[in-house]
Amino acid sequence: MFRRGERHDTLRDLLPSLGRRLLQRQKDKAHCREDFCALKDVSFEVRPGEALGIIGPNGAGKSTILKLLTRILKPTRGHCEVHGRVGALIELTAGFHPDLTGRENVYLQGAIMGMKRTEIDRKFSEIVDFSGVGGFIDTQVKRYSSGMNARLGFSMAAYLEPEVLVIDEILAVGDLAFQQKAFDRINEIGRREIPIVVVSHQLGRIASLCSHAILLQGGAIQRFGSPSECIATYVERQPSCVLSPSTVCSLLLRSIHANAQDPVISGEPVSFVVECSVSGDSRNDSEEITVRVRSMETGQILFAIGNYALGMELPRSGSFALTVELQMNVPPGLYLVETLIQDRMRGQLLVTGPQTSVQVSKGRIFRGTVQMNGQMQVLGRENYVTVHANRLN
């Protein structure tokens, strides 16, 4: 329970306000102070070997949960118990002081995280190697780039050997190579049978790392279950948003859902049904409905198709449904299917509509982003010579 509004931070403010309150006893105090409940009836348990993901929009209370788990805040009602050394990958460089060298900061931050000095001595070279800071370890941290800072902080947390792991959105640190290293390291720690709690907006990561998930909204649990269930609910609840207030669209996108068994197998076709309607009397010809597929893991847009590109005319009025058939030639994982309305004349995005998520599971085994139906064959010696001759021409 937090208090909204201004609090008196100095005695100079407190004394007059006390005086004022004494004089105006009937005055309604509620208008300047309100109690604000950040979390309501949130209960969960995480056992060793389980990884819980917490997702939700901004302001849902996710960071408050983490602060309760790391004992920074105490619950107003109820209780919070954590057994074991907590490794909090939350603010990795919180203890870093700009005037100290990297080495001094490693020892300080290590002590703050609960590592003994002998432990830090033992792991020091590994930490420095993992971070890639190298020879700069004895330079003052104020001369580091923000990336170096973050990588050093993460490396320390990576070698912490905690009994409970709590992670908050720190997976977006460093370049791609470092991110992959970081993610692998977290996976490795995860395999050690310790309870993990992750808060992230990278839904794909949550899907691959966690065994259960919670969808938090407005301080209350909206859904508790497997990561793909919670992600699907979260994604489907995203409101349509109009990109600029002056936009008036004649088309309305109502919903999208997949018309296939769940999960979908890689390489198989999936059909989606998009329910739409035309508001008003007639449809604006320049508006195009687009269906877009995005990887939840990387956020990359993989494919998009619109009705105009297919040469398809939409009904002029009334409600209708579109079926979209896509061949899911993508590796196993979680994908976001978005609906949009675009102005095809100006190439502008007008409205983002309802979304849904698709879980793709293993089909023909391949690695990468797109299924290219690769084939391999060994050529005998004679054929090899011919091929070579062909190339020389």
């Binding site: 008196h8 005695l11 004992r71 920074i72 805040l73 002081h97 100290l100 300080l108 995280m113 609960g114």
Partner: protein, 271 residues
């Protein structure tokens, strides 16, 4: 009812002590950090620890030997220095403790460890300054041919009593400053006034009447007098007053710790 309160008390106290012991290495690291930061990038480095009491002593010596001469049984400069040294330890510990929590706001709101570490680290840094500045005291003692007697063995006890009292006040100041930011300014002024209510640079015994009765309540007086007794006069401090002061120090420390510990969980919200 009393039993419930006592149980709660023992439970809390043992929890506090256990936690402090667990984080002892962090206290050391914090102290090191504060030390390094205070003197890094300064020209004199640790020499500053000596300068402050030394310069103060010189100024007060000039005032009280030339401008308004004061008679003390021991030569004035060493009389003043023996008072200034522990007083500086007290004053600087309190000054830095008061701002220790607010200055480290980012740590208070982001990472958990017992917050007592911040004011305690400030006190330990003050202790290091004390140790460095005591080299000048040794030089002065040699210059004025003051004999070192067995009573010097009692010195650690006096230091401990002072530390207990300082720690209790420091915890209360740090906590108050977190809730109300002008406490640091009030305490700065308060400590300056307090110095003149203690026999740091002049003997308080010379004052008579009602004012003397009020000044007798100042716990720092017997402590400063104890330093002088043990170091310069070769005698133990008067037992009754010193024991009373020791008890007051322990009570202040205990009360400060418990109040701090109970208010601790509100720090992150209120900072």
């Amino acid at each position: 009812m009393i039993k419930a309160k006592l149980d709660w008390l023992t439970q809390n106290v043992s929890a506090i002590v256990k936690e402090q012991f667990e984080f002892r290495e962090l206290l050391l690291q914090m102290t090191l950090r504060d030390l390094i930061l205070r003197y890094k990038q300064t020209v004199l480095g640790f020499g500053w620890a000596v300068c402050t009491p030394l310069l103060n002593m010189i100024v007060f010596s000039v005032i009280f030997t030339r401008v308004a001469p004061l008679h003390t049984d021991i030569p004035y400069p060493i009389y003043a220095y023996t008072g200034l040294l522990p007083w500086n330890f007290f004053a600087s510990s309190l000054k830095f403790s008061a701002i220790s929590l607010t200055r480290n706001a980012n740590l208070v709101t982001k990472v958990y460890f017992p917050r007592e570490i911040f004011p305690f680290a400030s006190i330990l840094v003050g202790l290091v300054d004390f140790a460095i500045a005591s080299t000048v005291l040794m030089a002065l003692m040699m210059y004025y041919r003051v004999a070192v007697t067995w009573t010097i063995l009692f010195l650690p006890v006096v230091i401990l009593v002072q530390m207990a009292f300082t720690a209790g006040v420091a915890l209360l100041l740090a906590m108050s400053n977190l809730f109300y930011r002008d406490v640091q300014y009030v305490s700065d002024v308060g400590i300056s006034i307090w110095m003149f209510a203690t026999s740091v640079v002049y003997p308080i015994e010379k004052i008579h009447g009602n004012l003397a009765a009020v000044l007798k309540l100042n716990p720092m007086n017997p402590i400063i007098d104890a330093y002088r007794a043990v170091l310069l006069r070769g005698e133990l401090p008067p037992a009754n007053t010193f024991i009373v002061v020791a008890m007051i120090s322990i009570v202040v420390f205990a009360a400060g710790s418990i109040v701090f510990h109970c208010a601790e969980f509100r720090f992150a919200e209120r900072i």
